[in-house]
Amino acid sequence: MPDNQEARDAVGDYKSGWNDSENSTIRFDFGLSEEVVREISKLKEEPDWMTEMRVKAYKHFIERPMPNWGNTSALSGIDFDAICYYLRSSEATENDWDDVPEEIRNTFDRLGIPEAEQKWLSGVTAQYESEAVYHSIREDLEEQGVIFLDMDSGLREYPELVKKWFCSVVPLTDNKFSALNTAVWSGGSFIYVPKGVHVEMPVQAYFRINAKNMGQFERTLIIADEGSSIHYVEGCTAPSYSTDSLHSAVVELIAMPGAHIRYSTVQNWSSNVYNLVTKRGIAHENAKIEWVDGNIGSKLTMKYPSVILKGEGSHAEVISVAYSGDGQHQDAGAKIHHLASNTTSKILSKSISKNGGRGTYRGLVTVSPKAENCKLNVVCDALILDEESRSDTYPTMEVANPTARCEHEASVSKVSDDQLFYLMSRGHSEMEALAMIVNGFFEPFTRELPMEYAVELNQLMALEMEGSIG
């Protein structure tokens, strides 16, 4: 029997909420201006086209109004002048953990990254504040021509590839936060998988914000060439501070004909982090893109992983779970555009809210007039654990071709006393019983994660369930 007292002692503890003392080597003043944008680019010794792209994006960010939908009151709480847009804590990106500054290495040790790397990963990149501090890839993959770099190194070493694909899926003017990311991006991953290469074990990126009032703007670009496959996993945590931080990433995926990209995220940001992320992929003929997206932490998340089904026979899947506790709002969902015939998509969204938390499913699926015989399947389930909590569903389908087959199911349920009593009668405390129900509810999601992640997620949820019973 797990010791209940031990579990109870952890009540309310955000597991990853410690912080290191800040030892920055370069730290920008708070606030954003064209000068700051140019400084970041200069510091990174970037080609001119990138500098100009950043400046253009910055201008769009300034002009673009804040979204007038979603949780506008929470969004209006973001103070763009109180954010540090660039902070470097380590001189270089190392490929040996021993060379990473000790304090930072300890952080990743506590998060279990080096251990996971040895056991079950093909490659790892670890980002701390604005820059990657560690990066490595298995030699055999490198020999097969797989490129797995942090985005800055990617731009330095493969400028042509980056120039070709950067902003090709998420255009510069896509939305206010993606424009901000394009202006001040730093870190993230750059991946190219050559034709026919299958990367069997996942590669992982881990993003850690340590400093207060920090903005983290990583940029990820993954290109899977014809018939190749890759599974990319990312995790995110930050210390708990009373002031807010901003995480605004952009991820672009390109799946060439017959390629398969799976992108799994478990974000567990502390509850002072705004998590406003744009994730989008393009699937060419018979390609497959899957987003497996877990949102556990953050103050406000707005994230709708998207797939553009551009090639005939391509397939998209977005499986997401969201957990919203006290003071949290998870506004998540999916967007899929069927542009070609015989394309299929599946959206499964599961959300849990408790202690006044708020979960929103926001989904859009479109079928263009020329796309024949498409199949769409949308399932969204919400589980509400108490009277104070809230769940909203905004599913939209715009189908312009009559041959499409659409399925949509939605359910909202509550945990019943009889269900809890049944489990308690089998020797499980009320908290354990609730965790069993919640983990069961999330099971269709955790099943899709690598086992190590699934176990971690279940433990995380068990901790979150602590204290949720009066």
Partner: protein
């Protein structure tokens, strides 16, 4: 400790139990003593308070105990939470087992055994053998383990799963709330065999709640109690079940009314 010192120590004892829910009285003074190795049966019509009795012994939070006590091995259970009662050896086979989508049967069984019998009992080959043996005895296929707890189970599957849990959790006191209803004769025999294995010749006991005498033919209870309107109106040996089956509850009501007058 039992009330009178000349009696053997009871495994479970119910003393003058009054129970209500939402202000309505359901049980109006019940007394019952089950000794180690004994099987008792409670029979009664729908609404007589049978399921309430089962739920109260297990600790359902909705019921209010107005008076009286429930003791296991001489210690009161009433202040204990349901999971503590389970860990002390009380088991309830539910009339309507609850579904938990996403919770795998195999996983759930292992966790429950770990919780009630200790981590060591839920590990390794010994546990697997025990599990396989119990499933074979109940004609449950191995594929059952990867299904979700009671999710999409037929009535018969739910009941078999309750008995499987009983066999693995090895309770001191097993309460079977209408486990026989909805089962065919083979199912009833299987359940009865499970109860006999769990109780006969052991220090454990069982309380079978039922409408019908059929299961009792296979278990042969030591005592049969008839519950009407929240009270035990008469108790007797196994023959009472047969008489009830032949004459109906009206007969018991008449007999007990006559006894009261006399």
């Amino acid at each position: 400790m039992s009330v009178a010192s000349d009696q053997p120590d009871a495994l479970m004892e119910i003393v003058d139990l009054h129970v209500g829910i939402d202000g309505t009285s359901i049980l109006k003074g019940i007394d019952l003593r089950i000794l180690p190795g004994e099987v008792h049966a409670i029979m009664g019509r729908n609404g007589s308070g049978k399921t309430t009795a089962a739920n109260v012994i297990m600790g359902h939070p909705d019921y209010e105990v107005e008076q009286g006590d429930v003791l296991l091995d001489g210690e009161s259970l009433l202040d204990e939470d349901p999971w503590e009662r389970a860990r002390q050896g009380v088991f309830l086979s539910f009339q309507y087992p609850q579904a938990v989508p996403g919770l795998q049967v195999g996983n759930f069984l292992r966790k429950s055994v770990a919780s009630i019998r200790g981590e060591e009992s839920a590990k390794g080959a010994a546990f697997r053998n025990e599990l396989n043996e119990a499933m074979d005895q109940l004609n449950i296929p191995r594929s059952f383990l990867s299904r979700y707890v009671n999710d999409g189970f037929s009535g018969g599957e739910k009941k078999r799963f309750e008995i499987l849990q009983m066999m693995l959790l090895k309770p001191k006191l097993a309460i079977l709330d209408e486990t026989d209803s909805g089962l065919d004769i083979d199912g009833i025999k299987t359940v009865a065999a499970g109860v006999n294995t769990a109780v006969r010749g052991t220090e454990s006991g069982a309380l079978i709640i039922t409408h019908y005498s059929r299961i009792l033919e296979h278990v042969k209870p030591d005592m049969v109690h008839v519950l009407i309107g929240g009270k035990i109106v008469t108790s007797g040996g196994p023959e009472l079940a047969t008489q009830l089956e032949e004459n109906g509850y009206d007969w018991v009501e008449k007999v007990s009314a006559a006894e009261e007058v006399a």
